[in-house]
Symmetry: C2
DNA sequence: TTGTATGCGTTATCAG
DNA sequence: CTGATAACGCATACAA
């Protein structure tokens, strides 16, 4: 069995016009549901459309309309995050919902290699989309620069440090970090440390700032260890260092759930019980949080709301409205589970 | 602070031609890297391009070329699955890799509501993509029908029962089910039941068939309970029924990890210990598998490979090659964890 | 090697 | 209400 590579030629407005015995202009009018077409013309055209199986060619329409009703959703994350972190999927779903409401098509573009970057750059500048939502852009990201150069309407989720004149939405990392750290304090912990990560991103440095806020005078620089990535391995490593620095540590804020999971393991091999001996909190409410034993107390991100907000900000730009560059922050909540 | 809604007019080939003092045809030729352009012309044109900031308009190019170098990746799953099941993300990544290799852009389209279906239908028929990869199409899916009517090149991941003349790729559900059931047998279990789900999909019925294969003579119809969805709730319900039918049951094959997770809970409330009293296996190796206590022994799907294969089959169609409709099955493996 | 002319499928303008 | 006709931005056969 095999597919014959036939691909019947698509009917055009022209074909419909001939079939219905009218002009292309009239056909175009009924296709776009305009007024001022006679009932008989409309009828003839509609049956002609059905007969020849006409479906409008959007490329042609885009060309003349100068818009596509489509917006790109560019996700630039390492494999593991894309697969493990429910946040990204929820952001996508939230954005899709708002866009769908406005009759725009969300097209998700995933960049996973160098050549992906080039291709997506071309795609974006090729007029396939009216605007773009960027998720987790890198600092000095080529795609960001193309967007800027093109003047393509865009909204960022989170904001890379070098983002100047483009709006973004995100969560208040600093406040959220302070809130979750407060759980440690509320539990009566005295020696509270932090495994800070990704300090080159503002999410990383903001979380550290929030930790500091929550502790105030009791903040102790020597109890902060700083690792490069939001990863399990770095969490394990960081916790080991912390334990070496002060064996009496009894509370830890890990900069992400993955980091917390690694820390939990380090704690376990060192013979500490969580939460009996030491309390631990994470950040993200990712799949790691429930995978841990006990499940993590962590910061829940309203990912869908973030996606929705991002879409709304983009749509506003598309409508030509002025949008604030301040960025809008959606509120987080801490979810209490078993580690504190 | 606010963005001025300026959006500078994009430069066209025409502008470049004027700037460089040549004709549009020549510009087009250097843009597309053709031979037969003088060094001086090329040079003048290239600097002109840089000067006016020209970037080709893909909509126009698509219109004349009749292709887009883009393929759609339509995912039609309920929220929860999209977020919980790593398989879908990995399929996406695998497909993207193969497509990227061939310089095609993967655009992911998620359908999440009735209006999404309509819009995507329009998108697909509008010439935005050269072909499409359909993930988990429904039986009698409107999108499937549009694809068929358009003669749009397509590959399905999994195959809905009503899929006729379109190629698909997937896993061998039947064999995989037999393999994982064999774990139960190998453990010496005597009263082995199954919580079958989604028997209206072929994945569902194939898994049941595989279970039957593995048990042979020892298959006992009364130990099979059949629930509608691959869900936690249905798993809980199904296990309860099974326990009612035969309290001495000591092995269970749940049709998916979500089902298994529900079953595990039902087992727990009934006072059974897993795996001491009863062995349990799942299917999918989704996030549920690791979230359970103990973690599930289950069937691992080579999701990335499935995505790659799907993309390859689609690319073959785009090249005009005949492709087999038999469907290609990629091999699975069982991953042994704590429940057997 | 380069320029010219034509077509791709629509929408939009403007007379009828 | 309807029919020509001109864009839209690009590729391409053909002529020069």
């Amino acid at each position: 069995m095999s597919t014959p590579p036939i691909r019947r030629k698509r009917a055009t407005i022209h074909d419909v016009a001939i079939e219905a015995g009218v002009s292309r202009g009239t056909v175009s009018r009924v296709v776009n549901g305009e007024r001022y077409v006679s009932a008989e013309a409309r009828e003839a055209i509609e049956s002609a459309i059905a007969k020849v199986g006409y479906v409008p060619n959007t490329a042609a329409r885009n060309l003349v309309m100068q818009r596509t009703q489509a917006v790109g959703f560019v996700v630039h994350e390492p494999h593991s995050l894309f697969v493990d972190d429910p946040n990204i999927g929820n952001i996508l779903l939230g954005a899709n919902e708002a866009l769908s409401e406005a009759d725009h098509q969300l097209v998700c573009l995933v960049v996973d290699s160098e050549r992906d970057t080039d291709r997506i750059t071309r795609y974006l500048s090729g007029g396939f989309v009216d605007g773009v939502i960027m998720v987790s852009a890198r600092q000095n990201d080529p795609i960001t620069r193309v967007i800027e150069r093109l003047g393509l309407p865009a909204t960022f989720v989170g904001h890379p440090p070098d983002l100047r004149a483009l709006p973004f939405v995100g969560i208040d990392n600093r406040k959220a970090a302070a809130d979750v750290t407060a759980e440690l304090v509320g539990r009566g912990r005295r020696r509270i440390g932090m495994i800070a990560a990704a300090l080159d991103r503002d999410s990383g440095s903001d979380r550290l700032a929030g930790f500091r806020d929550a502790l105030g005078d009791r903040f102790d620089e020597s109890l902060v260890v700083d690792v490069p990535l939001y990863s399990y391995d770095d969490g394990f490593e960081g916790m080991s260092v912390l334990l070496g620095r002060d064996p009496s540590i009894d509370g830890v804020f890990a900069a992400s759930d993955a980091v917390a999971a690694g820390a939990l393991e380090a704690l376990r091999v060192s013979g500490r019980r969580v939460p009996d001996d030491v309390s631990l909190v994470g950040f993200d409410d990712s799949a790691w949080a429930l995978r841990c034993h006990p499940p993590l107390t962590t910061v829940h991100q309203p990912a869908a709301a973030v996606g929705q907000r991002a879409a709304e900000v983009l749509l506003a730009q598309l409508r030509g409205e002025d949008v604030s560059l301040e960025g809008s922050l959606v509120p987080t909540s801490v979810v209490r589970r078993g580690t504190v």
